[in-house]
Symmetry: C4
């Protein structure tokens, strides 16, 4: 409504005032979240260190720590995809309430946690891809990743429930209800991968761990948008 | 006043120019504070490390460091609640003066400090919940937390004293005076808990330490808003 | 078009609404990127530490670690130049699509990586400027730096392909096509330096490593602007 | 001029478009700088650690590391004062050119460096307030601090030289020329303190090191404003 008013009537400035307030509101949530995402993504490089080596053996030592490069790339890509989804989600939101704030905190909490299970996972896989510790590490990673998907579900659900007040008029307001499906797919996939990987074969879980960020990257504009492009 | 002007008269653009300046003013304070909050909250994960363990003992080793997870969760939740209160406070402020700047610095200073007493506390509690060091750690934590509440009191007081210039017209300008009560509750509660915990039973202090962030989370929109919802 | 409308017609507010959305869109990409650049640039100081020394020998010990100061300065200057180019690039962009997002992620990924080869390089050069490890380190640095230039090429190319939708009307829209030349110069120069430095003389590569950030700093407003100033 | 136009003529939207561009320009410089300041100020807490101690000796061990608390407080206060001055300086600037960008980089470079000489200084003072290493440390700190003041001088000078294009009309444009005096006071004071402290008595330098941030905090609105308040 605020965006549709014909201008130059005397109530408009007051409305613009309120609108600035609301923008500021979402802006700060986004600025805080951007800060957390940017720090998580940048702290990852602290795990890359010059490997210990005897003189002349630098090349071989660098090559030996390839799993650290892979983990750096995978974590960076995952957090970047989360940021992209967060960005895409909040483009259409003009206001936030307490429920959205708390769902967003849950999301930041689980995202900031990701470097921990990633480091555990990459180190146990170097020790042995089917060791008993690899089974444990796969379960830990799946648990954290499933919790993150659960916080997305909470976020989409909160926005959907209050879509009349929170979502801009120009935007397809039913989008956030549909988005919940993407979060549920993640929860189910990570939990299944965790159970199979812990009890049976860790390598199966790994495939899922790499496939899901790709899925979320491709569908960051929503499942509908992907279908529409086909 | 700036928000109430009927538009299209020739003084309006100049006013909007000033308004942009003021918004920019609060914006930078908020951006700087958001940066500090985001970094504090994200640095906490650096304390979570893969525990040393013999092969096959990863699960047990992960389980043994449960107090580190609890401390991570509690610190994250506390800083998130502080951010939420900060956000809620500045939504209605359109301008800041030197007093507000310095009160805000005091707040950031004490917030950035929180990881330190938290780490000391969690480690001494693993060693023994009623050890002489636990009494010390409880006193340290209570002191830092009470200082943080004192900086909130200073902030609310500064805004309240200059509410005519600093607070937007649309907002309930007396709110900031009332908010001081919340800060005073915190100072009294933390100091009491610190004295009781140091001289008598550390576990009592712990209960207060967990209760107060919850109290501040629930009342982040002000005591009045909570009453109004009832 | 949005910027050229005569005002006060009833479609303007809706347009301004959309315009705010688009600004917000680029703003978040810029905020996230600023966060990453700011953190990379600030984390570098963590490598400067008080050197171990016997009492009274602080001055000599500080002097001995001069390559660490040089590396700190060079890395800081390089990331600052990257930020300046990023800033200059996005000034004229009013909207971003998925391609630009992914090119920007590639750029942040390679930028966040820079402290790693820099540290390896500076340490091997202290050990010996023509050692076999120096040859390796030069190759590593050249590879990362060439990848970063490749991500710039991708970014300029993405913007150029969709310049009608993404670039503001007031801006010279062909600029982004021309900018690709700067990125290609970087890729060729770093790869040549890497091959010469690895197979023949590391010192040659060093000269290129110091010359290229200077080149990018001087031409941050585009090759055309530099020509125009002459 | 842009801020003085009577509204509703058909050139206004284009002007507002440009104005948004310029605001965006300064905004990104400010956002990047805010990020660096926020990270520097928050990383300082990483130096506060639970001291090694035998059971029951926590209180004594905490008390023994008081210089670390003092250094934390002093560094935090100094960077906060720098941020406040930076904020105050850029409030009146509507546009930045290359010279301002590079002066700002020099400022961020020297600010990000501050934790290093601070740590060296606090540790040598614990070892002995008139030791030969304390003389060295005082010289190092004075050198870095004087460089920071020199970068302020450069920044004020750049803005002053191009004040017609860079500074908003509403602002006292001669302010930036006068501000240079504050920077020169700092350079002279730090260099004098450094020479006296290195060659004669380190304690004298310490007094200057604590006095100057206070001076810059009090005069952050400019020397004129301070005089006007008297």
């Amino acid at each position: 409504m605020e965006l549709d008013t014909t201008s130059c009537d005397d109530t408009e400035p007051r409305r613009r005032g309120r609108r600035l307030l609301h923008l500021a509101e979402t802006n700060r949530l986004e600025a805080f979240s951007d800060g957390v995402f940017a720090i998580v993504v940048t702290l990852l490089v602290l795990d890359l260190k010059e490997p210990a080596h005897s003189p002349g053996q630098l090349l071989a030592a660098l090559a030996r720590q390839w799993p650290a490069y892979l983990a750096y790339f995978a974590s960076f890509a995952y957090v970047a995809v989360i940021w992209l989804n967060h960005h895409q989600t909040f483009v259409g939101i003009q206001r936030v309430n307490r429920g959205v704030h708390f769902a967003n905190f849950a999301l930041l909490f689980t995202t900031a946690l990701i470097p921990f299970p990633t480091a555990v996972l990459s180190r146990t896989f170097i020790a042995g891809i089917d060791s008993s510790d690899a089974h444990t590490a796969v379960g830990l990673y799946a648990g954290v990743a499933a919790s993150m998907c659960a916080s997305w579900l909470l976020l989409y659900h909160q926005v959907h429930r209050h879509r009349d007040r929170l979502v801009q008029e120009e935007v397809d307001r039913e989008r956030f209800g549909t988005e919940r499906a993407r979060a549920i797919i993640g929860i189910v996939a990570y939990l299944t991968a965790g159970v199979l990987g812990t009890l049976w074969l860790p390598a199966i879980a790994l495939v899922v761990f790499l496939a899901l960020p790709t899925f979320y990257g491709v569908t960051s504009e929503g499942l509908k948008a992907v279908k529409a492009r086909e």
